[in-house]
């Protein structure tokens, strides 16, 4: 059940944007719906078009073609100052010559809110982000985390229908980022405002979003809930961008009730992987299997897929260990195991082991 289907609050329809002097469009024929109250993320590497799409939503860029609807209204040609949308900038864009309170109250002042009411609203907002005591400070007198909260309060001041966040946590250090993630999510749930966030950080997107879209070269590759996209990537790029993935080139030999039988290039035997839609024999595909889905054991078990390999190197990270496994034909696979027992014995470099995984834990990616 997709919340977007229930009531498309934000609808992006065939939007294309090409910057002058460039060949490839920054955004190429993107369509997607975001439901009311969703926390939606646009995830992609730099240059994937996610920021341009966000700027189109804010009204800083006009698409060459296509339309943007917010709450049923076509806002494509509306200037930024007339849109019911506010944005939290990557650089925060706090006005350096104004106090924290004036920054937060800027939008309210533009709306002509009376002073008394405005003061009250600013106070509430600053309390909400725990900055009540710093209202009179200038932005340069604040820490990075405090600035981030001022930017958030400023963007929320006008009760926008839609809040856009451009890498909202990108400038914070790792510790602060983790704690802020949860605050941001709690805030969004409490306020019920629709959030659209741009990020290149997959962990951030997975933690925060109800749904996300993976973008590359101006196109949307896949849309879905974080677990859907992670567990069932539909393209090589998504599989590799979102977490780590082992990709094995293969040819389909058969298909029955959601499971494909495959022949893997360079390996003997047959392999099985999940494929929701029917595939005809001979189709070239890739099998994607996540490192943590592979088991390592001393003897071959009765799993759907088995390979024999040798430990090339081990990276002990603490909670998990990652193994680089040599396979036949000078190829390697990545395997990750959880160190759930204290002092448990670990395979050492050079040890020969069996790798196995079930059909349900691998997916077929058709190219």
């Amino acid at each position: 059940m997709s919340p977007a289907a229930a009531s498309p609050f934000l609808r992006i329809e065939n939007v294309t944007k090409r910057y002058e002097g460039t060949d490839a469009p920054a955004v190429a024929n993107v369509s997607l719906d975001v439901g009311r109250g969703e926390f939606f993320s646009l995830l992609g590497a730099s240059g994937s078009g996610k920021s341009t799409l966000l700027r189109i939503l804010a009204g800083f860029e006009t698409p060459d073609s296509g339309h943007v609807f917010i709450d049923g209204r076509d806002v494509t040609d509306l200037p930024p100052y007339e849109r019911p949308v506010n944005m939290m900038f990557q650089s925060y864009a706090l006005f350096p010559h104004m106090s924290v309170a004036d920054n937060v109250g800027f939008g309210l002042k533009q709306d002509g809110m009376p002073k008394a009411q405005r003061t009250k609203r600013i106070e509430d907002l600053l309390d909400m982000v725990h900055l009540g005591s710093k209202a009179k400070r200038k932005p340069h007198q604040l820490s990075g985390g405090e600035r981030q909260r001022v930017a958030l309060a400023r963007a929320l001041a006008k009760h926008p229908k839609l809040l856009l966040l451009d890498e909202p946590l990108g400038a914070l250090d790792r510790k602060l980022r983790e704690s802020t993630q949860f605050e941001l999510k709690a805030l969004q749930a409490r306020l019920g405002i629709t959030f659209v966030m741009v990020t290149h950080d997959q962990d951030e997107a997975m933690t925060l979003s109800s749904r996300l879209a993976v973008m590359d070269h101006g196109r949307v590759l896949q849309i879905g809930a974080p677990n859907e996209v992670y567990e069932s990537p539909t393209s090589r790029h998504v599989a590799e961008f979102l977490g780590a993935a082992n990709l094995l080139d293969a040819a389909v030999t058969g298909w029955a009730s959601g499971i494909a039988t495959l022949a893997c290039d360079g390996f003997d035997g047959s392999f099985k992987a999940t494929a929701p839609s029917p595939l005809s024999a001979g189709t070239r595909v890739a099998i994607a299997v996540r490192p943590e889905k592979i088991r390592l054991c001393g003897a071959a078990d009765d799993a759907d897929n088995k390979l024999h390999g040798q430990v090339k190197d081990v990276a002990y990270i603490g909670d998990v260990s990652t193994y680089n496994m040599w396979l036949a034909g000078a190829r390697s696979l990545r395997v990750q195991t959880t160190n759930s027992k204290r002092g448990g014995a670990m395979p050492a470099s050079g040890e020969e082991l069996w790798l196995s995984w079930d059909a349900a834990d691998a997916v077929v990616i058709s190219e």
Binding site: G59, Y81, M87, F89, Q90, A93, G107, H140, Q141
Partner: protein, 272 residues
Amino acid sequence: MSAHKRPISPLYVMLAFGYAFLYAPIVLLVFYSFNESRLVTVWAGFSTKWYGELFRNEQILNAAWLSLRIAVVNATFATILGTLAGFVIARYKRFPTRTAFLGLMSAPLVMPEVVMGLSLLLLFVALETAIGWPAGRGAVTVTIAHITFCLAFVAVIVQAKLASFDRSLEEAAMDLGARPWKVFCVITLPLIAPALAAGWLLSFTLSFDDLIVTSFTSGPGASTLPMVIYSSVRLGVSPQINALATIMISVVALFVAVSGWLLYRQDKAKRA
């Protein structure tokens, strides 16, 4: 660590020498403005009589007043025009004849003054012959000439400021509901104000100090301060000019001290 590893100290000697070279003539000028004797080089006791004479010198006072008015009008117009030009250079990367525009904006910065002065005079004469304006030459033609070379300096300063300007500040204001004109007044203008002030002051100084372009484009009855100083010093050293120089230097020094103090305070507040 051996001493030859740090070749810094002779450098500081050079620096001290450089500053002495820059400032010694100015200091001497100020010192001898308080000399009793008419001969600038012979010390005959402390006196402020040259200041008294200076303030009774109608010609110098009138010239100073004229220069001041021209400098203020010039600086104001040059700042407005130069700011417009700076915006076009910084914000509009593609428009027809942009290259010509850039050339036109930067050529006055490097043009020898004699060339600008002569060519402007020839234009004014040609215009007068053709359309009867400007009728004769004086404060108006001098001001036009000054604006012409000052606006390019302002454009450079404003353009540099805008190049380092964070555009997302303007976008943020627009996003929060401010219309473009409002954004300009509330965000852009206050943030580039230091550049405008610097441009205004530079234009004022260039104009107040200019001799060559002024001499070409001025006419009878419109003698500016540099013109009067020039005709006076051509005849030799004069204690009154020393007194005048001292006053001008004091004004600049006072101004620099005050603005330096303000900047220092601002800086301290920033760090607090």
